[in-house]
């Protein structure tokens, strides 16, 4: 056990994976300096420029080269800087990485972790603030992970590197400095949610940084006599249907909360699945379908805060 930040936990995970397997390599812009968020700190000094590869600003080539490396036997960790930039490499991830194994009849696999930091980040406006996990959840072949804590960032990153599938690994940009205890021996399975607090009257499902506002809301709801259960989904695909549906069956009420735009967000998938399977009442809460604005008052319109969650929970409970 050691106290460390979310960024340090990520660097530790990659370092451990590189030490354990010399086929693990890192490539992306500025990774040699430790990455723009310190999430690769010290790795180039330790493993050299051949394995921690500084690249040109060429997203299509970074991701496409990652696919080629993976087909040739390496296990690349590909850095996209922010998810918004990964859109410059959508063919490489959606048509190549996600589909090569299938369309080649299983002849090749793409064991690659693509890190695409997400989320509203102080005053970063429309092209550096998006949460696009539902885009990637829609693509067969991909695993999508959204860790919320230093421990999960460590353990889920190790699991992502071990799983052999192409993984879209979405860290939240305002979580980099979050500190927590990390047990490097703790192994987590992809696709398993974590129940953060138990409750009987309402299930709240969320992920990534949005969990913080949800936890705050749960306390406020408790003080008002509403006993909510809070689930950290952790993986968007595969998502933990068993845990979520079991909770919904008990509470009869589901509120899904995410930072991403509500329209066609992954919350819709969870809400529909829960309603179909358990008949529970459902409600979604996500950002309005507007780009994230720059000025504080504009940016605030895209944020979901605890009071929004409390109000939605009460409306759902009727």
């Amino acid at each position: 056990m050691a106290l460390m930040t979310y960024a340090e936990a990520a660097a530790l995970a990659v370092g451990h994976a590189m030490a354990a397997d010399d086929q693990v390599v890192v490539l992306g812009e500025d990774v040699g300096r430790g990455g723009i968020f310190g999430q690769y700190k010290g790795l180039q000094q330790r493993f050299g420029e051949q394995r921690v590869i500084d690249t040109p600003i060429s997203e299509a080539a970074i991701l496409g080269a990652g696919v080629g490396m993976a087909l040739a036997g390496l296990r690349p960790v590909v850095e996209m800087r922010v998810v918004d930039f990964a859109l410059c490499a959508m063919d490489e991830i959606a048509n190549q990485a996600a589909k090569n194994r299938y369309m080649f009849g299983g002849q090749g696999r793409v064991p690659m972790v693509v890190r695409m930091p997400i989320g509203i980040w102080d005053a970063s406006a429309a092209q550096h603030s998006q949460s696009l996990e539902s885009w990637f959840a829609h693509l067969p072949g991909l695993v999508v992970v959204c860790p919320a804590t230093p421990q999960d960032n460590y353990s889920l990153l190790r699991a992502a590197l071990d799983c052999g599938d192409p993984v879209v690994f979405m860290e939240h940009k305002t979580l980099w400095g979050l500190s927590g205890e990390v047990d490097a021996s703790l192994q987590l399975e992809l696709g398993r949610a974590a129940t953060l607090c138990r409750g009987t009257q309402l299930t709240i499902v969320s992920w990534s940084r949005q969990l913080q506002a949800c936890a705050e809301a749960c306390e406020q709801l408790a003080s008002q006599g509403i006993d909510a259960e809070l689930i950290d989904l952790r993986c968007i695909w595969p998502w933990d249907r068993d845990a979520v549906l079991a909770s919904c069956a008990r509470t009869g009420h589901l509120l899904v909360v995410h930072e991403a735009v509500q329209v066609a967000g992954f919350g819709a998938e969870i809400a529909a699945s829960a309603a179909e399977a358990t008949g529970c009442k459902v409600k979604r809460l996500g950002a309005p379908r507007i780009p994230v604005g720059y000025a504080p008052v504009l940016e605030a319109q895209s944020r979901i805060v605890a009071s929004d969650i409390v109000a939605a929970a009460k409306a759902l409970r009727g």
Partner: protein, 336 residues
């Protein structure tokens, strides 16, 4: 080039031509396009992109490759695949969508791959193979393998961003890649010339400091000679090289495209320079050439393709359950 060498190249070219002709015939009615409706009777379904008339390029390039070398290809990739040493019958079976095909019927013509000979896949997206090729070459370099990657693409690909990104990448890291621009002068149903600023693939490579050669892509001996020089340099660790082989797409964009938009004189002129006719004539003038040997090679190619058609026809379809295999391991079974 002696008679034996040229006959070997002719054999590759004749096998490709025979394959393309058979696939073309089997694909009529296989897709609704160009004013024709799919009629359900075709054995080869969907868009089929033929490399008829371009055979000298893969033949002349791939003869310099070894089994452990990688190759990435395009939607027009049957010739590259055969020239790299892939099995003709397994490719025909894949075009038929059968379980015995290279991809078990999951890919078809546009996604043909044979990893057993280093053929890392055709691609349905123009220029998509270039970044994958440089990644494969990067792995070869990091793993200190004595092997290179050959990356085929068309003239249309040089107008996409990944062309620039991949060439720059290969040069920055001095990777063992041979880029081969198979310049057939057509981008789908649009003539490439008016769509390309500057002097084309070789000039663009030169602007990045990548040594490049332009060659008559319908002259198999010339392709063989130029590719041999470039492959030797790439193998020696000199970094990437580019070969621009100028050829001509005799057929339409896909097999049901009559290419009526094309000037008749242009096609007639191209047929005059058909690479197989030229190679055949050149062969017969060489000392030691044997018309009988050439005829035997031709007959063997035809017989091999006929056998492949028969086997593909008789082969089983994939099981429906195969649709759920090889999607992903994590979360397999969770389909909705």
């Amino acid at each position: 080039m002696d008679a034996k060498q040229l006959l070997a190249l002719l054999r590759t070219m004749l096998r490709i031509r025979a394959f393309e002709n058979a696939a073309e015939a089997a694909s009529q009615g296989g897709v609704s396009a160009y004013g024709k409706a799919a009629d359900g009777s075709a054995k080869v379904r969907g868009p089929l992109h033929l490399s008829t008339g371009q055979e000298a390029v893969p033949a002349g390039v791939c003869v310099h490759l070894r089994r452990e070398d990688y190759l990435t290809s395009t939607h027009r990739g049957h010739g590259h695949t055969l020239a790299k040493g892939a099995d003709l019958g397994a490719m025909m079976a894949e075009l038929f969508g059968k379980a015995t095909g290279f991809n078990g019927g999951k890919g078809g013509s546009m996604h043909i791959a044979d990893f057993s000979v280093g053929m890392l896949g055709a691609n349905g997206v123009v220029a998509a193979g270039l970044p994958i090729a440089v990644g494969a070459a990067h792995a070869q370099k990091l793993q200190k393998r004595d092997a290179i990657t050959a990356c085929f693409f068309g003239d249309g690909a040089i107008n996409r961003g990944p062309f620039l990104e991949a060439l720059n990448w290969a040069q920055v890291y001095a990777l063992p890649v041979l880029f081969v621009c198979e310049d057939n002068r057509w981008s789908a149903t649009t003539a490439s010339g008016p769509m390309i600023a500057g002097d084309g693939a070789a000039a663009r490579a030169a602007s990045l400091g990548i040594a490049a050669l332009q060659v008559d892509g319908n002259d198999v001996a010339a392709v063989h000679e130029a590719a041999g020089r470039l492959v030797a340099e790439v193998r020696a660790g000199a970094g990437p090289r580019l070969l621009q082989a100028i050829t001509y797409r005799i057929k339409g964009h896909v097999s049901v495209d009559p290419a009526a938009y094309r000037d008749a004189g242009e096609l007639a002129a191209a047929i005059e320079t058909d690479p197989i006719a030229r190679a055949r004539a050149a062969y017969l003038q060489l000392p030691g050439a044997s018309p009988a040997a050439l005829q035997a090679v031709e007959q063997q190619a035809e017989a091999e393709v006929q056998a492949a058609l028969t086997a593909a026809e008789a082969a089983p379809w994939p099981e429906a359950a195969a649709a759920f295999g090889d999607v992903q391991t994590t979360g397999a079974g969770q389909w909705r």
